[in-house]
Subunit: 299 residues, 2 copies
């Protein structure tokens, strides 16, 4: 069977079944980060992302922004677990015929973002390759009480999303601000039940929360914050690369969040319900539709 | 300027100059692993390696062995710092047209090696790519007193290497045993001054020790342990991918090591001298030659 046929998530599920981990691993494959035992008060978080030219960026994109994005996507993963990024490793696969200036600019973008998020770039690897390939691994930490996962949403939770959705491909995907400040504000001030970052589209990433938490959800078209760049509803639901935070919290906490809305740009978009409902969209006319669970997939 | 022209080490030195790290980073870019503050007795070690089809392995190589190698090279880095590997992240870039069976076998090789070295595979990323690309990041730890670096060799040290050198390309590079047991035996029983793994050829990797420690070295052709697969001396000095340990220790300790030789397969090959000597080879006739510092380079 071809990789193309089984698909990205089929492949991940297959790999998950092959792997066993020991007791020092709190969460292994399948969340935004791995969660590891660390000390009395904290866990360590570990995540990686591979960006490939022609898939995650094009040759026309500015190398500074490409380097920036390579680190930003991993910061977004650490943020969505409620933690703080600390140390980065960078592996670079680069064709011999590319310029040193390209490397300078890629690193320039990474270093500038690393500075503003107080991340140390501590090592890496360089290899010749056919296509420009950047892999960033990020080590971070999170207070045990602040750890957020995809798997703890509860029926009755309200669902929120930061910022706006859709149209990211027109430019935001290269310039987005990882929502670390927002995530830390949330974990410090509220009881959040689950969180994920919207990398593959709202529908797909919300469905990860639903699957892992064994629940369903209603979302309301009227409440979805479409960006000015979003062409239509489908764009906001399915295209991905928004890198906003999607999170769920008990209703009581939601009231408190509403009263502090000046402090964080986020919107209520729906609620968690029983799993048998699946994922449903209430459209502008009030009709209820079952949502297709598609979104960006590598294969 | 092209990447091809500045070369691998020119590129690394350029990147090093761009990067500053904070006080929690004991060693950043430039050794086999990054060394990070951890707790009272231990440091954390962090390393990564990117393997690309057509560079580090061919399409004809068995995927099980390719997966195994992808993890083994990073274990070798942790070993050469004196530490123990703990957690691995795996990023896989794979063309859509390749088979799921290939992925199973790649992971099969990694999982089998991970088991024997008690490493947890805790996460990863999958992306479509033009060439099969595997990046492994490995997090480990080392007792502070056992940390080994490239930078602490001293004039008068004897130089040792484990196993045999040369001809690795005929097969060993895909099947080598990372010298973790040997490295742990050494750090627990001896005062070792410096260590590195031989990945790019003895001459080049020894020159890293010399540069970082600001010393020179004499090595003796008669003492070099050539493997049966090595074609000639140049093969042992320059081809690389041996993944043996190269280390230096005070003469006194060397005597102790010689007496325990049954416990570890290693040979004395030379001595550390003043830096003004550079790297010299004493050939079988007793003539002294300055060694060229070439070896495997990506560009």
């Amino acid at each position: 069977m071809l990789v193309r046929k089984i698909g990205e998530f089929g492949l991940i599920n297959r790999i998950k079944k092959l792997i066993r981990t020991g007791p020092s691993v709190i969460v292994g494959l399948g969340d935004d980060c791995a969660v590891l035992k660390y000390n009395k008060y904290n866990y360590q978080l570990l995540t990686c992302d591979m960006l490939v030219e022609g898939v995650d960026f094009t040759r026309k994109d500015k190398p500074f922004l490409v380097g920036r994005k390579a680190l930003a996507v991993s910061i977004s993963d650490i943020a969505s677990c409620g933690g703080l990024p600390r140390y980065a490793l960078v592996s670079l696969g680069i064709p011999k015929s590319r310029s040193v200036d390209l490397v300078d600019k890629l690193y320039g973008g990474m270093i500038s973002l690393a500075k503003s998020y107080k991340i140390n770039i501590v090592g890496g690897d360089i290899s010749s390759a056919q296509s420009l390939t950047i892999n960033v691994s990020l080590l971070g930490e999170v207070e045990k009480k602040n750890l957020l996962l995809r798997s703890r949403a509860l029926p009755g939770d309200f669902i929120f999303v930061t910022g706006e959705l859709g149209g990211s491909i027109s430019g935001k995907h290269l310039k987005f601000t990882p929502r670390l400040k927002e995530a830390r504000f949330l974990v410090k001030n509220f009881k959040i039940n689950s969180m994920i970052d919207v990398s593959d589209g709202l529908a797909q990433d919300l469905s990860h929360i639903l699957e892992e938490s064994n629940v369903g959800a209603f979302i309301y078209e009227k409440l979805l914050p479409l960006s000015n760049q979003a062409c239509d509803l489908a764009d906001a639901l399915y295209t991905g690369e928004d890198f906003e935070l999607l999170f769920t919290m008990p209703r009581k906490e939601a009231g408190k969040l509403m009263r502090m809305k000046k402090r964080i740009n986020c919107r209520l978009i729906g609620e968690i319900v029983d799993r048998k409902e699946g994922l449903r969209l209430v459209d502008k006319k009030g009709s209820i539709k079952l949502l297709k669970l598609r979104g960006f997939r590598h294969f």
